[in-house]
């Protein structure tokens, strides 16, 4: 009883004291912290917390502490929409995430209406086509990757029979459609354009169909959790085609899932974290490893952190946390900011400028070797 009373008193004190400590800059993290993409979602949350910690130890932003509020969107559009409302209600100024384009898109409008800045690594072109000034893409759009893929498959490797495969998500479907169109534009031959249901595990019926078309290359636009299993089932069915995974296959779990079948598969992405050359990348990754005891799961988390850094930098430069002013500042940067994943600057529509891709081949021990660098 005494304990309960004490608890009550403590709560009352905490409530009274709340306004005094409320003077923080709230940063929302909307990411798939559980579910199939949990690996990536946790990478984003960990990165955001680390950056906030680093900034706070140097006195914060505009003299205020940075407070990270995470919300788990589970990689589903429904949970993403709830997260968006929740984060807006909690008074965040900017939101980092989400990992998937589907979730970023489901939350976009809520942030736009509330004037909350959102920075996501979602690569679906549709994300920047709605004219929301609040959205800043910290990765490079699908259309850029699709053009690179098409050029590589058709002009450099000269494949004759290409299969394009995706799941139904905003990102994967968008990337696959863009790649199919780009391949056709270059005069390439797409023998099949198939779709799988993410997480359904049993891909052999689709792959058997693909086998009957005798492809020499399969481009899979989709996520690593399906990509690894696709690769393993492709080899089990004896399909000899070269396997190319789009950027979202760039995750250590791809290799683990594919097992001994991983060797010889190709992944197309921007350079991976360990290969990032800048001093700022090296020090951030070293701090990340020190704090969490592992490498960031992929480059996506770091891209999101770059988006968060850029927005906080804009607040600092403008001298206040007005989101509209920050967006204008970022759209009109004359020199790009130094980012972990390279120079970062935004076009008027919120797209990140620039971008270069590499093709990586998976070796027998599961490590990557660069096959082609743009």
């Amino acid at each position: 009883m005494k304990f309960a009373k004490m608890l009550l008193a403590l709560t009352a004190i905490a409530l009274l004291a709340a306004p005094a400590i409320a003077d923080t800059i709230k940063v929302g993290v909307q990411a798939p912290i559980t579910g199939s993409y949990a690996n990536e979602g946790q990478g984003i949350e960990n990165g955001a917390r680390l950056l906030a910690e680093q900034l706070n130890s140097k006195g914060g932003v505009l003299g205020k502490q940075v407070e990270v509020i995470a919300c788990d969107d589970q990689g589903t559009a429904m949970a993403a929409a709830i997260c968006a409302k929740d984060l807006v209600n909690k008074g965040v100024k900017l939101v980092v995430g989400s990992y998937t384009s589907t979730c970023a898109e489901a939350a976009q409008k809520t942030y736009f209406k509330a004037g909350v800045l959102q920075t996501s690594d979602g690569t679906a072109d549709s994300l920047t086509e709605k004219g929301y000034w609040t959205f800043l893409r910290n990765s490079f759009p699908n259309s850029a990757e699709a053009e690179f893929v098409a050029n590589y498959l058709v002009n450099i490797k000269k494949y004759q029979r290409i299969v394009v495969l995706s799941d139904f998500s905003t990102y994967a479907d968008g990337l696959a459609n863009a790649a199919e169109a780009a391949v056709k534009e270059l005069g390439g031959n797409v023998v099949s354009r198939d779709k799988i249901k993410a997480d359904s595990q049993n891909f052999t019926p689709v792959l058997t169909n693909i086998k009957s078309k005798h492809p020499d290359a399969i481009f899979f636009a989709g996520y690593y959790s399906d990509g690894g299993q696709l690769r393993s089932q492709q080899m089990a069915l004896g399909i000899k085609a070269d396997f190319y995974g789009g950027d979202a296959n760039d995750n250590p779990d791809f290799v683990k899932l594919a097992g001994s079948a991983a060797e010889g598969a190709f992944i197309i992405n921007v350079p991976e974290p360990a290969a990032l050359p800048t001093p700022i990348a090296k020090s951030f990754i070293a701090d990340y490893q020190k704090k969490y005891g592992e490498m960031p799961p992929s480059i996506w988390g770091l891209m999101n952190i770059d988006g968060m850094r850029a927005i906080l930098h804009a607040f600092e430069q403008n001298g206040d946390t007005d989101t509209k002013k920050a967006a204008e500042y970022l759209h009109n940067l004359t020199t790009p900011l130094d980012g972990i994943t390279g120079p970062i600057a935004f076009a008027e529509d919120g797209n990140r400028k620039g971008g270069a891709y590499v093709v990586k081949r998976i070796q027998a021990d599961g490590s990557y070797i660069n096959e082609y660098v743009q």
Partner: protein, 298 residues
């Protein structure tokens, strides 16, 4: 033709996994008239239990003996959890209205699913390559060693179960309890131990199914039980729920149906067609393919 045979092999492999899981649903329904919604999550749990046995108990040994031990220990663990589940979630509600037991089953499903998440984490866990990737190519039709193992072991288990239920005294007790529990009790059958037995058998078969999922697909997630549970549930209804050979047949048919729809119509539509099939079965033959028409007790 080789495409047809390849889809046949694909369908039989996935179908035998559905059948193993469907047996758990159908046996419990047969005796208790209860849909054990927690069964799918038990299947998922067994894959995680198997993975832990591999890493912690077996010290990551990959011999054939190790695989057998993993199967036996996982089945044993899941059988214990199955009995515990019945004791905690279903026995207290034995005399309650049937709806209460169904709600309890849904609750148990959530508890197990979240339990897996809390113990093993929300991330996808990856099964080791315990079965070497060996393939045989029969002029275009490729069959892998793991497919052969899954098919053979499933068939052996199902035949053994069928013989057990049809030929032994315990089997007769199960059949008697499924017809009329009160009459069975009057004949001196301990219905409680019969129910415990079907949970032991159902959970062990589910455990084998869960390990097959882990060995075949390699990636396991805490929430995968829902998907497999749903398919197995459809398989059980297709074959006639409460009917043991029906669950085996239903599982195999569902696997083949799914593979052929995905192969010849569209993979996009495979799930939709599966549910259309379920609706058609419920309209045309609500008792399933092998289910007997029974008069509603008033």
């Amino acid at each position: 033709m080789d495409i047809f045979l390849q889809q046949l092999a694909n369908g039989l492999t996935i179908g035998s996994m559905f059948a193993l899981v469907a047996l758990g649903y159908t046996m419990v329904y047969g005796v208790m008239k209860l849909i054990n919604f927690a069964h799918g999550d038990m299947v998922a749990a067994s894959a995680f239990v198997g993975l832990t046995i591999y890493t912690q108990v077996m010290g990551q040994a990959t011999s054939l003996g190790a695989v057998i031990v993993i199967f036996l220990l996982s089945a044993l663990t899941m059988a214990c959890i199955g009995v515990l589940l019945e004791r905690l979630a279903y026995r207290p509600l034995r005399t309650a209205p049937r709806l209460s037991a169904v709600v309890s089953a849904l609750g148990a499903s959530l508890v197990i699913q979240n339990g897996i998440m809390l113990i093993w984490g929300p991330r996808m866990r990856i099964f080791p390559e315990l079965v070497p990737q060996v393939y045989w190519d029969f002029s275009g039709v490729v069959i892998s060693l793991i497919q052969v193992i899954i098919l053979a072991l499933s068939l052996i288990l199902m035949i053994a179960l069928y013989l057990f239920v049809e030929k032994t005294r315990m089997g007769a007790a199960i059949r008697a309890s499924s017809i009329d529990q009160d009459a069975a009790r009057l004949m001196g059958i301990n219905v409680n131990s019969v129910i415990a037995l079907i949970f032991i058998i159902g959970s062990s078969l589910g455990a084998v199914g869960g390990l097959f999922i882990g060995l075949y697909y390699r990636g396991i997630t805490f929430n995968m039980g829902w998907q497999y549970g749903l398919y197995a549930f459809i398989a059980a209804i297709l074959g006639g729920i409460g009917n043991i050979p029906g669950a085996m047949l239903g599982g195999m048919l569902l696997g083949l149906f799914n593979a052929f729809i995905a192969g010849y119509v569209s993979s996009t539509w495979a799930d939709a067609f599966t549910f259309i099939l379920l609706i058609l079965i419920l309209i045309v033959r609500p008792t399933g393919i092998l289910g007997e028409r029974v008069a509603e007790k008033v």
